[in-house]
């Protein structure tokens, strides 16, 4: 599990960066690994085109991207970061709600950061005593985390909730840190996942002229 440490460190929950899902910024070379073969002129490799990928690369990258995505998903499942509920979310995504997962997850990020802010604010109070309020926040956090399949985050929240039910302030602090850490990691990974997904969709969706 050590790999998650550096990732988490890069996420400044304290600053509450609101990262949204962006267009892919990686170059085709990074994404597809095909960069060597045809060595296109450098100009084409940067975000020249709308999609951020060179046109001639598009069709080829989709499979690779899908593989990347699956690999990442498998890793997250293995680590217990996500559980089968996330799969259910994915199954709910269809033609009628094509961006369901990313919408839900974005809402989740938004709400969670609010909650984390509140929790930290509560615990930082000098005369903190409102465990009940904390419990309410935590309950919501547990609910939303479990609804999107964020297993580890949910587990930490449950422990946090237990600590707050016992009015154990130190325990709450520990749990809060742990929670922030886990949340950061989850957020990073989900962002990564969505980026790959976006690229994949784009790569799969764009037809490029079969010229050469």
């Amino acid at each position: 599990m050590t790999d998650m440490l550096p990732a988490a460190g890069s996420c400044r929950v304290g600053l509450m960066s609101q990262r949204r899902i962006n267009l892919p910024q990686q170059t085709a070379r990074e994404v597809t690994g095909y960069g060597d073969r045809r060595s296109p002129p450098p100009a084409l490799l940067c975000r020249g085109s709308k999609t951020g990928l060179p046109v001639w690369m598009l069709g080829l990258g989709a499979d690779r991207l899908r593989a990347d995505m699956n690999r990442l998903l498998a890793l997250l499942f293995h680590q217990g970061v996500l559980d089968e509920q996330f799969l259910q979310l994915q199954q709910l995504q269809d033609e009628s709600s094509p961006n369901f997962v990313s919408e839900v997850v974005n809402i989740y990020f938004h709400e969670s950061e609010k909650l984390l802010r509140n929790l930290r604010g509560l615990l930082m109070e000098r005369e903190f005593s409102d465990y009940k309020k904390m419990g309410i926040h935590l309950n919501q956090f547990v609910g939303s985390s479990s609804s999107i399949g964020a297993k580890r985050v949910r587990n930490v929240c449950v422990a946090f909730r237990a600590a707050s039910e016992q009015n154990n302030r130190a325990g709450c602090f520990r749990a809060l840190e742990l929670l922030e850490h886990e949340y950061c990691y989850l957020k990073n990974k989900l962002h990564e996942l969505f980026q790959i997904e976006q690229q994949r969709v784009l790569a799969a969706g764009i037809r490029y002229p079969m010229q050469n």
């Binding site: 599990m1 050590t2 998650m4 440490l5 988490a8 460190g9 996420c11 400044r12 929950v13 304290g14 680590q79 217990g80 970061v81 509920q85 259910q88 979310l89 199954q91 709910l92 709600s97 369901f100 919408e103 839900v104 809402i107 989740y108 709400e111 930290r120 615990l123 930082m124 000098r126 005369e127 309950n139 919501q140 547990v142 609910g143 939303s144 479990s146 609804s147 999107i148 297993k151 580890r152 587990n155 449950v158 422990a159 237990a162 600590a163 039910e165 016992q166 009015n167 154990n168 302030r169 130190a170 325990g171 602090f173 520990r174 840190e177 742990l178 922030e180 850490h181 886990e182 950061c184």
Partner: protein
């Protein structure tokens, strides 16, 4: 879908139509936008027709506007504007719609509350597609029970909750659909003599419409009933007499009888809530005073009313961990639980039922997901031991408690009584902590501890380890605070878990997902647990932290070997206050070390930072220093730690010598120290977030 279709398909024809449950109209209420969205989509996937709102008030408005627009209501339990249970009551009262509760909290007492308030079902988040696929059964069931013949009670133990409406008299009685179904559909506030309200209206097309008159216990009718009962005196109230007093036409003795039964149960519930502590104290044979603190166990109150006697009160108490960190009540488990409540609650005075319920509860525990410790109830002692237990501490009630479990591998040895006593002592003395432990860990206040002790098994609910870990920590704290005598008990208590925790280690891994505390496990410091726990006690890590034990956050702490002896003494002999005192000492020790190394600069700087947060790391390293006594190490650590926020919450009383020392050495820092000492009494030091290195960045220049 036209209105006619809907009505034809769903109302009146009962189950007949093929399309049902497709198109069933569901109203979903949840203040959490994520859950609401997921729920909505899941319901759509089930091909229901979904309306959502995040405000309960709005939901009520929508329901009141047109009661027939919806077939089913799903609502969250914790909502800011109206409590979910209140909504449940209102919906049941006014609209007689089946209501499903939804919650992230699997707390048993909440589930109980849901059932008693008339919920058809109680689902846990995350809601799964498979669970939602079946919720239509509640609609059918309710419709059937509404039209049910008085003489043909079906398996309506669940629906009758809802059908009886929220008169506050809902019980889990399944024998009552004979009488009092509140037909709220058309006649909200009927007056006396509601005869044949329901049967006439409800299912015109339903072939099974019964012909017997139904009594609607309207508010007025109920008032009459209550006044009659009062007149007679509850003890003496016999249906015949009540009937005479009420003088209501068309009311039969049977109607009154069943209503009376429900009323009695309701009263018990209400009254025992108030007296829960006393009865609990009595039940457990422990000091009463300590149980005054069992406020946290208020959930118990819900359990007790259903036991007709004080004896059973406690038996009822035992099996149901109110704090219920029992893991997720998935639908199957939830059903078991319902089975429990219906069997366990309906018949007070029937230990057998309780044991049955307990059995099912045990089964429920067994089917809990993703946990190795499927036998949560391993902790439940065998009847043999229970008898022993009774003789030792508790009055005989638990005797009826023929357990339940098939504890796999659970062995309560003769140590049980002793440990029970200890636990009892612990519980008495631990007041809050015990109370908190009980719901979380104990089933019945004592057994789980022993289960853990004796078997060292994973007799804990999946979430128990986490809660237990945390709460045994706090219990240790609180123990020390409350009673001296508790120390022994506390010692025992906490020692017990230490034995058990290693086994629950794997438990942790599986359920709690070791990764959540896995950070601890990644770092090697876990071994520092004074309890001599193995590295699996990732749980205990957070636990021990308050005592300055390992808190291996991100491996930040290089040398996290706390002074076990030191901490242990701290643990067992000192209050939380003393702990902060201890922190003080460490702090002052650091100061002294720092001064010895003439490192006042950074230290003072860090002190200056205002927010002094003593991290566990800090304390741990300090401990290390205290034990190791190497100034150079201290210096490095001090320097390192001084970069972090250091917040001491020293207890003024106990820092005299250190204060003086500190003050003498840091004249310029006097003010800072004073201000810091004044802050926050008796609080364990705050732990600054490793992630949010605000202070660190601020104080970075001090390095």
């Amino acid at each position: 879908m036209t209105v006619e279709d809907q009505r034809g398909g769903l109302v009146g024809h009962g189950v007949a139509t093929d399309r049902f449950p497709m198109g069933m109209r569901v109203l979903a209420v949840d203040d959490d936008p994520i859950c609401l969205k997921v729920l909505e989509n899941l319901l759509r996937k089930c091909q229901y027709h979904v309306t959502t709102t995040n405000q309960a008030i709005k939901a009520l408005k929508m329901l009141r506007e047109n009661r027939n627009k919806y077939d089913l209501v799903i609502t969250d339990v914790n909502m800011p504007d109206i409590d979910g249970f209140k909504l449940l009551e209102l919906v049941g009262l006014e609209m007689d719609l089946p209501v499903i509760m939804l919650s992230a909290h699997s707390d048993t007492k909440l589930v109980m509350k849901g059932i008693t308030h008339g919920a058809c079902d109680y689902l846990l988040k995350p809601v799964r597609f498979e669970e939602l696929k079946n919720i239509w059964q509640h609609v059918i069931r309710r419709r059937k029970s509404d039209s049910k013949d008085q003489n043909n009670p079906l398996n309506l133990d669940k629906t009758c909750h809802g059908t009886e409406g929220g008169k506050g008299m809902e019980t889990t009685g399944n024998s009552d659909q004979n009488g009092k179904l509140s037909r709220k559909r058309k006649d909200q506030i009927e007056d006396e003599d509601e005869e044949d309200e329901g049967s006439g209206h409800e299912n015109e097309d339903d072939p099974s419409t019964q012909k017997k008159p139904r009594v609607v216990w309207s508010v007025e009718l109920h008032h009459k009933f209550v006044s009659a009962v009062k007149q007679l005196g509850l003890e003496k109230a016999v249906p015949k007499k009540i009937l005479d007093l009420m003088n209501v036409e068309g009311l039969t003795r049977e109607n009154v009888a069943s209503h009376l039964q429900k009323y009695r149960l309701y009263l018990k519930k209400v009254s025992t809530v108030a007296t829960q502590q006393v009865s609990m104290a009595a039940a457990l044979g422990v000091k009463d005073s300590s149980y005054a603190h069992m406020g946290s166990l208020d959930g118990f109150g819900d359990l007790r009313p259903y036991t007709g006697s004080g004896r059973l009160t406690n038996t009822a108490l035992s099996p149901y961990p109110p704090g219920g960190m029992l893991g997720r009540l998935n639908s199957s488990a939830g059903l078991n639980l319902r089975g429990i409540t219906s069997s366990g609650l309906i018949q007070p005075g029937h230990p057998q039922n309780l044991s049955n319920s307990f059995n099912s509860f045990g089964k429920f525990q067994q089917c809990m997901p993703d946990s190795q410790n499927s036998n949560v109830f391993q902790g439940i002692p065998t009847s043999l031991d229970i008898n022993q237990l009774q003789q030792n501490n508790c009055p005989s009630h638990i005797r009826g408690f023929n357990p339940i479990n098939d504890p796999t591998g659970f062995t309560l040895t003769a140590s049980f009584p002793d440990s029970c006593r200890l636990a009892a002592v612990g519980t008495t003395s631990n007041t809050m902590s015990a109370a908190s432990i009980n719901p979380l860990v104990l089933q019945g206040n004592t057994q789980p501890i022993h289960s853990r002790v004796a078997s060292g098994n994973q007799g804990l609910a999946p979430s128990n380890p986490e809660s237990f870990g945390l709460c045994s920590g706090s219990s240790n704290f609180l123990d020390q605070n409350r009673c001296s005598e508790s120390r022994q008990g506390a010692v025992q208590l906490s020692k017990l878990p230490s034995n058990a925790l290693p086994t629950s280690g794997p438990l942790n891994q599986c359920h709690l997902h070791s990764s959540s505390f896995g950070i601890s496990s990644t770092s090697p410091q876990i071994g520092n647990n004074p309890h001599d726990l193995s590295s699996t006690c990732a749980l205990s890590c957070p636990l021990d932290t308050p005592r300055g034990d390992v808190q291996c956050e991100e491996g930040l702490i290089a040398n996290m070997v706390p002074a076990t002896s030191y901490t242990q003494t701290q643990r067992w002999e000192e209050h939380k206050q003393e702990y902060s005192h201890y922190m003080d000492q460490t702090f002052s020790a650091i100061n002294s070390l720092a001064s010895a190394n003439s490192n006042q600069g950074p230290l003072s700087h860090s002190l200056h930072q205002g927010k002094a947060v003593c991290t566990n790391n800090f304390s741990a390293s300090i401990l290390d220093q205290l034990n190791g006594g190497t100034p150079s190490a201290a210096e490095s650590i001090v320097v390192e730690k001084s970069a972090m926020n250091i917040k001491m919450k020293p207890d003024e009383n106990q820092t005299k010598s250190q204060d003086g020392f500190i003050r003498s050495n840091y004249g310029s820092l006097d003010d800072i120290m004073n201000s810091m000492m004044r802050r926050g009494q008796n609080e364990t030091p705050l732990v600054d977030s490793v992630l949010g290195y605000d202070a660190y960045s601020l104080g970075g220049s001090c390095m």
